[in-house]
Subunit: 339 residues, 2 copies
Amino acid sequence: MRVTIRDVAKRSGVSVSTASLALNNKPKVSPETREKVLRAAQELNYHVHHTARNLAVGMTYQIGLFTPVSLEHTFSSSDFFTKLIQGIYNAAQDKGYSLMLFVADEAADVAAQVDRWIRSRSVDGFLITHPSFQMPYLDVLRTNAIPFVFVGRPPETGHTSPISYVDNDNVQVARKATEHLLELGHRRILFINGPARFTYAQDRLQGYQDALQQYDVSLDPGLVKAAELTFVDAHHVTEQTLEEQDFTAIVVLNAMQALGSIQALAKHGLSVPQDISIVASNSALTAYIHPPLTTVDIFPYQLGFQAVQLLQRQIVEDAIDHAIVPCQLIPRSSTVALH
Amino acid sequence: MRVTIRDVAKRSGVSVSTASLALNNKPKVSPETREKVLRAAQELNYHVHHTARNLAVGMTYQIGLFTPVSLEHTFSSSDFFTKLIQGIYNAAQDKGYSLMLFVADEAADVAAQVDRWIRSRSVDGFLITHPSFQMPYLDVLRTNAIPFVFVGRPPETGHTSPISYVDNDNVQVARKATEHLLELGHRRILFINGPARFTYAQDRLQGYQDALQQYDVSLDPGLVKAAELTFVDAHHVTEQTLEEQDFTAIVVLNAMQALGSIQALAKHGLSVPQDISIVASNSALTAYIHPPLTTVDIFPYQLGFQAVQLLQRQIVEDAIDHAIVPCQLIPRSSTVALH
DNA sequence: CTGAAAGCGCTTACAG
DNA sequence: CTGAAAGCGCTTACAG
C-alpha cells in the first residue's frame, strides 16, 4: 500500500495541510510540529508523489533534453557528450529537476513534436544541444514562450530576441593551441578546422588568426582547411596539404582527426613529434593514443552544469543570459620545439 | 490560457466524461459523438495534460533509462550508445512512453537513489544498460517489484528469480569473425577479447572456441588475450604477442582496438591486410579507418527497440523474457586469403 | 450511449 | 501556528 501525506498527517496528529507545510519546509509551522511530521514521514518511509505534487503546483520539474543524435559523428569519437550529460544531470538533481530525453530524428517532424511536448505540459523548459542543427522548432519554442537554452553558440540568423546559451571558449581553444606552437618556434602551422556550418569553427578560426597576428605571422590561406571530425577527412586533408605546402605543425580539432593526420604523416615517412608537432582539443582519447597528444582541454561537464543553471534562471526569473567555459592547454609529447 | 477537456466538452456539447471517453478512443461512444468531440479538440488545439492524466490512471508512462556513464570507455569510441538510445526512444514513443534519464555516478549511493525514484513514483519501469556494473540497486528493484530489463546479459550471481534482458548474439559475433578467417585459410588467429568482467567477453570466447573446433584447429591459449577496448591496450597486446607467437590474423572487438593493433603492426613493419588480416565488430568507425575493416556488425538500434518491448510486456503482463539480436559479417578489405 | 460524481495525492489561499 | 476546503485536469465506475 502506498503511504500518502494523509498517513503522515494522521500519525503525527496534525492536519494534511500542516503536514504538507512541514514537509515542504514552509516557514509558518512550529519547530515541534515540523519535527513531529518529519519523524512520522521517516518512520512511514513517506515520499511525495511527484505526479500529484506537480499537478497541484502546475509545474513538471522536468527538463527536456533535446538532442539531434543524427549528428553522431560529432560525438561518437569523444566523451564530450557523456561528460556533458553528467554535468547536466548533476546540476538538474541539485535543483530538483529530472531529465526527459528527446531524440530528434531528422526524418520526423520535429517542430510538431516539440509542439506536442509543450502542450501536453511535459517539461518546464528545454536544453538543446547543437544549435547548428536545423532549427524548425525555434518558432514553436518562441510562440509558446517556453524557456530553453542552447548548448553551443547558436548561429546568427537574424533572431529578433536574444537566446540563452553556454559554449566553450572556442576562440581561446584555437588561440592557445596556436600560441603554444608559435612559442615553440613553429611558424607554418596547418590549421584543420571543423566544417564551416558549425559556429565553433568560426570561433576557432578567429583564435588561430588572433594568435598569428600576435606573433606577427601573416596568415597563409593555404594552411587553413576544413574537415569533418573524422579519421578519413583529416587523413585526406593532411595528405593533400603535404603535397602543396610546407608546414612543421598541425592544429586539429579532436583525437580522431589527430589519428588520421598521424597516419597520413606516417605514410609519408613523417613522425610525430620528430618531424611534425600536433595539438588537438577535446581530450577524450588522448590517453589512448600514441604519442600522447598535447591538447587544449575543454570542459563539457561544466558546460552541462552551467546550461542547467541558465535554464533554471530563465524558468524562475525569465532571465536570458549566456556563459562561456574556459579551456586549458595541456602540453604532452606530441609537440616539440623547432630547431 | 490552457485549454482543458472541459472546454472541449463544452464546445462539442457533451459532458466531460463523454469527452474523455471519445478522446481516449474508448468503445462505448457513438461515432457521431466521437467525431464531434475530436473536431472540437482539433479546433481548440487541445492536448491532454499528461500530469493530470497520469495522476488519474496511476501510471507515469515514463521509463527510467538508467546508465552507469562512468563506464565511458566502453561507449566513447563507438556509436553503440547513440544507436541504442535511438532504438529505445523510437520504441518508447510508439508505446506512449517518455524516457527519463538517470545517470549513475559511482560515488553516489545509487541504491538509495533508485529507492527514491521508485517511491516518488517517477517511472513505471527501468531500462538498465551494462549490467556488469556493480548492482547494489538490484535488491531495491526487487523488493519494490518494479519492472526492469537489462541491456546486456546480466552475470550469473545466483539470482533467485530470472531477469529480463536483451543482448547481442556475442557467441555468434566471435564465431563468424573467426570462421571468416578460417575460411580464408588462416589457422593461427590472435583473439583479442574484452575484459573478463563483462559477460560479452565470456560469450565471445565461446564463439572463438566453437569456430576453431568446427575447423579442427586446436586452441592455443597463447593466442587468447584480454584487453580493454582502447587503442593502447590493443597496441600493447598486439606488440607483446608479436614477440611470443606466430599468427596471420587478428580478431578484435572494436575499431579503437583495430587502430591500436594496426599501428603496433606497422611499427614492426607489418601491414594490413598484406601481412596480417583483421576483423573487428561494432562498426562505428569502420568507414573512417584505413583500411576499411571487415566487421561483424551488431545492431544496437534493435537492441534498444526490443528492450522497450520487453519492458512494456513486463509492465502490462508481468512477463519475464529475453531477446538475442543476431549479427552479420561484412567483408571489407582488411581481410584477405592466406597464400 | 451519456452524465454526475468521486477520486488520484498533493498544495495553497482562506479563516480562525 | 493550524485546519477545512477547494482545486490542479484528468479518468472511471456507477446510474440512467
